[in-house]
């Protein structure tokens, strides 16, 4: 994991008190965000948390009902068009052009940025290689697998050599192999100094990729820091998951004793959080209970902050 570096450069995204209301519901409710140059920033939250709405606001596609927003130094939504010339977008839902082949998709998307002519061909060859889609230039979109479509969508977002790449659930619905491919590309982008903002439901993904992330629920930022800082600040380092009914009963008894053990019931699981697991594990072993002992992760942070599981 990378160490957080203080950056002197002005942040690429600054949001203060962003709000959005649909009908009576505030789906984004006073969000403050700051994304620095070169940072990989994550927005982690359950369905309906407001992640897509926040990204759409950054792109100037959803006018906020309150708050201030600057992206790449441009006031949004007033100068969203100018900002978008330097942004790459991977939307949540597939928007590849089904009237075109793989290559035509890239050429056409490039034309939306005013990119055409001689310089474009090598760039497109480069992007096709990056997506591992060489040899499929002339394949129609309908004939691509889900993973290929996502890869193509990712390189399509890079056609304008963006300074900021915005990704809305880039790996949802992909198999592990396809996911690893995308992760690798995202890390490479980050290593070349591109700033990235990604939404995800996946803890593991956020923990692996993001330098910093904001946990959001019901339109609010509950906490924002590096994954490690969040875990250290909010959660005891050890987690014991009790997986069956007798184990849960035993766990309740252990937790009731106090002594630095915090219990949390999540569905049919009982989670015990503690800094000193030794004695607990011995007792559970002695009684022969089934359990899983693991380090604390972001999911635990989320559970603690919101009181419900992430994937709902």
């Amino acid at each position: 994991m990378r160490v957080e570096q203080p950056s002197a450069a002005a942040p690429l995204v600054v949001a203060h008190g962003l709000c959005k209301r649909y009908g009576e519901q505030w789906v984004v409710d006073g969000v403050d965000l700051e994304v620095r140059q070169g940072e990989f920033f994550g927005l982690l939250g359950p369905n309906g948390a407001g992640k897509t709405t926040i990204l759409r606001m950054l792109l100037g596609l959803t006018p906020p009902d309150g708050g201030e927003l600057q992206v790449l130094g441009e006031p949004i939504p007033a100068r969203a068009r100018e900002a978008r010339t330097r942004i790459g977008v991977v939307p949540q839902f597939d928007s590849l052009d089904p009237d075109f082949t793989v290559r035509e998709n890239l050429v056409t998307y490039a034309s939306y940025f005013g990119l055409r002519g001689k310089d474009l061909a090598p760039r497109i060859a480069e992007l096709l290689a990056l997506a591992n889609l060489e040899g499929r230039e002339d394949t129609p979109i309908a004939a691509l697998s889900g993973g290929m479509k996502r890869r193509l969508t990712l390189v399509r977002a890079l056609v304008n050599e963006p300074r900021l790449v915005v990704l809305d659930e880039p790996t949802t619905g992909l198999d592990p192999q396809a996911r690893h491919h995308i992760w690798q590309r995202l890390r490479e982008l980050r290593d070349t100094g591109t700033t990235l903002i990604m939404t995800t439901h996946y803890m593991e993904e956020a923990e692996r990729l993001c330098d910093r992330l904001a946990i959001i629920d019901a339109g609010r930022v509950l906490a924002s820091a590096s994954p490690r800082t969040l875990i250290q600040a909010h959660i005891e380092p050890h987690v014991i998951e009790l997986l069956d009914a007798p184990g849960r009963a035993a766990g309740e008894v252990l937790a009731a004793r106090g002594a630095g053990v915090r219990a949390y019931r999540a569905g049919d699981l009982l989670l015990l959080y503690t800094a000193t697991p030794g004695a607990l594990l011995e007792e559970l072993d002695a009684a022969g209970h089934r359990y899983l002992h693991r380090p604390a992760n972001l999911e635990d942070v989320f559970l603690k902050l919101t009181g419900h599981e992430l994937r709902d």
Binding site: L61, P91, D94, D97
Partner: protein
């Protein structure tokens, strides 16, 4: 007060995208442009024309050919701005992809209207070619009809785009066809002179754009004289601008929310 459209040169990228798709299906597209209107021209022109005889100096086929050039531009442009544009807006996410690039709704709407007008012009040109080959066109003045056809196509497309802005599915377009386009077609002077109608109906339907397009285009093709060209132009341009302004405002509200 609605904000006026502020499109940029990037509208052309939208137009070009559609041209690129059209070129991929060149043969069926062109066949479509020639096919149906040609059949109408032959069947009605000769079949029906025998019964009707001439209209003043003009043979019925020549009268009809100039009318069908207008109605073909009308229907081609309207179709494109409704069914095809709706597909790109609602089903294919084409517009959403554009909005992730530095295009704005204003560019997209103008680009789509320009494209639909282009298709209208292409269909009209196909018939013009046939009509010329059949000796139904008076003289070189007919070339002046082309910019007027393009302008009319723009107007028809812009009006259709307003309907698209409200559409939730394809069935919605039937209202526009049944309530607006078909009555306008039948009373617009395409198939027979408007003078056949009672005066009140002539007056009532003269507020629509098609009769004005016909009044401009037919004389240019058949060698007649223009009666109120400035009024005709004003109505066509007026509908075009009003359509573009409202469609842009409505689609902004629909997509930027």
């Amino acid at each position: 007060m609605i904000a006026l459209p502020r499109p940029s040169f990037r509208s052309l990228a939208v137009w070009q995208r559609n041209l690129r798709v059209w070129r991929k299906m060149l043969l069926p597209s062109i066949l479509g442009h020639f096919g149906e209107p040609l059949l109408y021209l032959l069947a009605f022109g000769y079949g029906f024309g025998r019964l009707v005889g001439d209209l003043g100096q003009l043979s019925y086929v020549a009268f009809l050919a100039s009318g069908i050039i207008c109605s073909s531009a009308l229907f081609t442009a309207s179709f494109e701005a409704m069914y095809s544009a709706f597909t790109r807006m609602a089903n294919q996410q084409t517009w959403n992809a554009m909005l992730n690039a530095p295009l704005v709704v204003d560019d997209i709407v103008l680009g789509e209207v320009l494209w639909a007008a282009t298709k209208g012009l292409m269909s009209a040109m196909a018939i013009l070619l046939v009509a010329t080959a059949m000796g139904l066109v008076a003289d070189w003045r007919a070339l002046w009809a082309l910019p007027v056809v393009a302008l009319s196509g723009f107007t028809f497309a812009a009006c259709a785009m307003v309907v698209t802005a409200f559409a939730r599915n394809y069935d919605f377009f039937l209202y526009y066809f049944t309530l607006i386009l078909t009555p306008m077609l039948l009373t617009g002077g395409v198939f027979f002179p408007r003078e056949q109608f009672p005066e009140w109906l002539q007056g009532l339907t003269y507020v629509l754009p098609l009769p004005h397009a016909v009044d401009l285009i037919r004389p240019l093709l058949t060698g007649g004289s223009l009666h109120q060209p400035w009024l005709n132009l004003a109505v066509v341009v007026g509908y075009g601008l009003a359509g573009l302004i409202s469609a842009t405002a409505l689609i902004r509200r629909r997509m930027i929310c």
